[in-house]
Symmetry: C2
Subunit: 424 residues, 2 copies
């Protein structure tokens, strides 16, 4: 058994609303699992190897629960369009290139390196429609030591000629991926990934829901991102009461653990259905801003008890850095507060930090916190070069890192107790 004790200024959020702060304390970890936090080591703690991060912050690693790996080359480009034209002009042509494994390897190498650099220890990822490229991405994640759910995208209608799959091939390739990867790795697992309703036939949606049950794997898709998209859903499913209702009817809305990205235009009944079914919302504020989609009223989701994590949504979002996404979420919530006559309270820093750690991390299990029994995913942060003039409290140091820090402030990354080196 590997027993280590990490010494530093420990900060996390066991609940939404405030920070758990243990200044100059020790966190004991056995085989990657947190045992306890203590201010002073006792005689019985002597069997632990000491890892000294005194004066540094020790915080949970970040979970990014919505991003598109093959859109990485487009990051920061084409931000003058809305969702549907942007998909057709920028996204689909780029994703078509991922039939080429060498191109895929080149791009995914840089993506995984940059996730590592920015402290994202767990990701929930859309790949492209391509089976082999998706397998490559999963193998590269396994090699990196970072955690991930990765989904082969399904779309058998309304995409580009180069990406459209037959229904049969889409199902066959998905099942092949499940068979090979469902038990291959503890940290990297497959996830069922219908792109969104407009690109999937009824037959495909039905079959994917069946595969999720048969292989006991989770589901991810998009929901209520943009008004044009929402209107399109009404045209495609005139008899349905809501976008969420269609997913639910197909068994793709919490029947297995599910993430729905965006949720900008959810009706109240849809928010309630998410809470009831335990469906996660992936809140992607920068993408919502960039694609002029709108502002997710995140406070409503919190009040109704929906699980919420944050997503970079590369490349609708431009930044991989989850602290930037935290700030975007706070900004969006502040504007919603103003627009709602101050009924929807803005997110505090602690609330948004919770979403980026335990909120999204809980999709992976006991991840994103330092409570007893949690997997020790951690970042060690040195904010020395961010301090100007006055001395700061532990919470202020964390705020500095979140608001004005960078990858350069992260001096070490751990996943389930293992130190992760920069992917080569």
């Amino acid at each position: 058994m590997v027993k280590r004790v990490f010494h530093g200024d420990i900060v996390f959020t066991s609940h939404m609303g405030g920070f758990d702060i243990y200044e100059d304390s020790y966190i004991l970890v056995e085989d990657g699992i947190v045992v306890k936090i203590t201010k002073n080591l006792e005689e019985s703690d002597k069997g632990y190897e000491l890892v000294d991060y005194r004066g540094k912050l020790i915080i949970p690693g970040f979970s990014d629960i919505h991003l598109h790996a093959p859109q990485y080359p487009n990051r920061g480009l084409g931000m003058d369009k809305e969702l549907i034209p942007w998909l057709n002009t920028y996204t689909f042509p780029e994703e078509a290139k991922f039939s080429d494994l060498e191109y895929s390897r080149d791009v995914y190498k840089k993506l995984i390196r940059d996730l590592w650099r920015e402290g994202t220890t767990r990701s929930v990822v859309f790949s492209s429609v391509h089976l082999n490229s998706t397998k490559l991405l999963m193998d590269m994640f396994i090699e990196s030591g970072l955690g991930a759910y990765v989904g082969k995208v399904n779309m058998d209608r309304n995409s580009s000629d180069k990406l459209n799959e037959s229904t049969e091939k889409s199902i066959r390739d998905t099942e092949a991926l499940l068979q090979e990867y469902v038990n291959k790795s503890y940290l990297v697992k497959p996830i069922i990934t219908p792109r969104f309703l407009p690109t999937c036939t009824d037959k495909l949606l039905h079959e994917l829901a069946g595969l999720a049950v048969d292989y006991n794997v989770p589901i991810q898709s998009h929901l209520n991102e943009n008004t044009s998209e929402v209107n399109w859903i009404k045209e495609l499913y005139p008899d349905s009461t809501s976008y969420s209702g269609v997913y639910n009817d197909f068994g793709l809305f919490g029947q297995k653990k599910t993430i729905m990205a965006h949720c900008v235009y959810n009706k109240d009944e849809e928010i309630e259905l998410m809470a009831k079914n335990g469906v996660y919302a992936a809140h992607c504020p920068h993408s919502n801003f960039n694609l002029s989609s709108g502002m997710m009223p995140v406070r409503k989701f919190i009040e109704k008890g929906v699980n919420i994590g944050l997503g970079s949504d590369i490349s609708g979002g431009h930044t991989l850095r989850i602290p930037d996404v935290i700030i975007g979420a706070i900004h969006q919530s502040k504007m919603n507060w103003l627009l709602s006559n101050k009924e929807l309270k803005p997110l505090s820093t602690a609330e948004a930090f919770y979403m980026a750690t335990k909120g999204g991390g809980s999709f992976f299990g006991k991840v994103g916190s330092f409570e007893e029994g949690y997997e020790f995913d951690a970042l060690v942060i040195d904010v020395e070069d961010l301090m100007v003039g006055k001395t700061l409290t532990i919470e202020e140091k964390l705020q500095k890192y979140l608001y004005i820090g960078s990858k350069d402030n992260i001096i070490q990354r751990y996943v389930k107790g293992l130190k992760i080196e920069e992917p080569s």
Copy 2:
């Protein structure tokens, strides 16, 4: 005469609305002033020293036309409050420390270093109320080689006990600064700086307007940032038709070149008065988000012909990096587009880039563009490490730098033709 020719991919915005792009071209500079741009050097251009930045972008340096130097230690802190409580809790106590010259030197050294790092070649700065600390800041700017307008803040009511000045001292210290600095440096000059109406008595405002005329110096202040502040103005000046109208009545609204920061809640007549009087709006989107102030309808200002530059508004804003402010401005304009029933068109990247260069730069004179006769303020940008997968056009390379680049992508900075080294 110093004659240099810079070779690279030249990008700037001579007008609002589109990029001027000269791929693999030459820009000829004499004694810091742009002479011409050419695709091929001619026989008559042989007398110029060649500076080779082939494959790199050459863009104008950024102008930050609204920031508070003594708030630099608070950057990224206290973002859970609105304007007035934030001023009282965080800002005024910090600014009070700048009676101490050693503390001032320590903070201003890091501020100027970071402005240099992020490529801000010109700044319009609020100092504190303290005369000696303001002189120190100006001397440090002069030493750095960067350009700046710096104002000693005036407030003789409604601030904290430690900061409140007598009316007489406020005027006397301001005039002392003007006398010493009005002709001391070409690049660093004083600016009249009443903090905002609530902190200045009528007598002080009247005298400051007189000093602006007597010494022929510009003016800066705050305008319509937050609804509580706007309501306070109505209480303080019940007979006035608008916040802008009060400044105008005192001769502080374009009688000399003037910048007003924020302008979130301007009435149409106030926007028209700004256009008529040539008053600049300093648009500070991140500050507006952070302090829950609101969203400036920037398109209205453009349509009415107001001069607009961008401001980091440290420390209401958290980031010094002007490309981040560009993105914030675009985000805010996209949300205004949605909220206005798509009447207020979002900012394009080129429009926001214009504001950050020629828009704000024009406050300094012929600054922020590479047209003939402009001062050569330039950044040399290498985006190699931002490129993943596909090849990019010059405009796409600039987009990458703006959206996902950092200070590390800036390999050289020039102000009026002189290469500026990192301040020591």
